[in-house]
Symmetry: D3
Subunit: 71 residues, 6 copies
């Protein structure tokens, strides 16, 4: 009966439909394998977050990526 929310950056870093299916399958199997949870009622929600809307180290990912390209 677990609920899993996965947040990753979107835009040009967005996962493909195949990668999202692999995340859903993988995390459902992980919860079944580690905790014996029933896959039939395991819910997974993936959020793709715009790079302007994700911050790390006090900067948006947009800015982090620009700095990395320059460096």
């Amino acid at each position: 009966m677990p609920y899993v929310n996965i947040k990753v950056t979107g835009g040009n870093e967005a996962p493909t439909a195949g990668q999202k299916a692999a995340l859903i399958k993988g995390v459902t199997e992980l919860l079944s394998g580690v905790l014996g949870k029933n896959p039939a009622t395991t819910v997974v929600v993936i959020d793709e977050v715009a790079q302007d809307n994700w911050g790390l180290g006090g900067m948006s990912v947009t800015e982090v990526r620009q700095r990395n390209r320059k460096a």
Copy 2:
């Protein structure tokens, strides 16, 4: 002062504006009726999740719907 988050599938299953208004009204009245919470400060946020991004039973809803159509 409650906060409620409702996640449902979007795309061709997305709720209409009228249905979203009915959810907001209904859940606000429920919290007022059951717990006596003040509607004026009850916050509701509805997230519409793409069908590729929602997993149940280890599969995306996109795949669940395709299997149901075939069956």
Copy 3:
């Protein structure tokens, strides 16, 4: 297949087991009634938040309640 998260204040304002059951039943019926969602796969999670940990108007609820008692 919806997922609902309800956050309310805890401590001396915490809902009873009966009130929590009424919230779960009520919101599941709301989603079934408004959107035709299947109750069997509707997940509800209630979080009880300590009054020091909930802020409104720039103050914790602990302080909001103290001011209301004095007023």
Copy 4:
């Protein structure tokens, strides 16, 4: 290592890229200043919520804004 999620209304009220950068910088500095948290591992996610999908006082923000314009 903190995680912060900020939800605001989107559409014609959506924050600009500059405002989002200011929120990310400001909240990261707040957590560093108040709790001594390491900015390098402080994660911030901003969600812009459609005005039909945000409820306050039992109404969507769309409806709240319409009533305010009329009043």
Copy 5:
């Protein structure tokens, strides 16, 4: 840079510290394997939810478990 939140039932169904470590390791490896995400900045938060506070099928898990024992 992903963020993962895993919610499971607590109380007598709560995961052990070892199981929680296995979930953290497993989901971090999944995101690295499927999406190439950097494990160093992958954040995982596990919430253990009281059985009275988790609803499925319109009932709390407390009631679901009682019915299953009787059946």
Copy 6:
């Protein structure tokens, strides 16, 4: 009308009531200053997460802290 959720580690790293009040005040002022949001309807929820339940770099914070002490 914004909603902010702040997650930090708890246990022996838990913020004091005074620190939590400072976070609530600070983030509410940030949203008012940057976006002109009304403090009266700004909601803040702080979650204190057990160190076994928070993962970074594929390990729980409990293990991260033990390694740092040994190093």
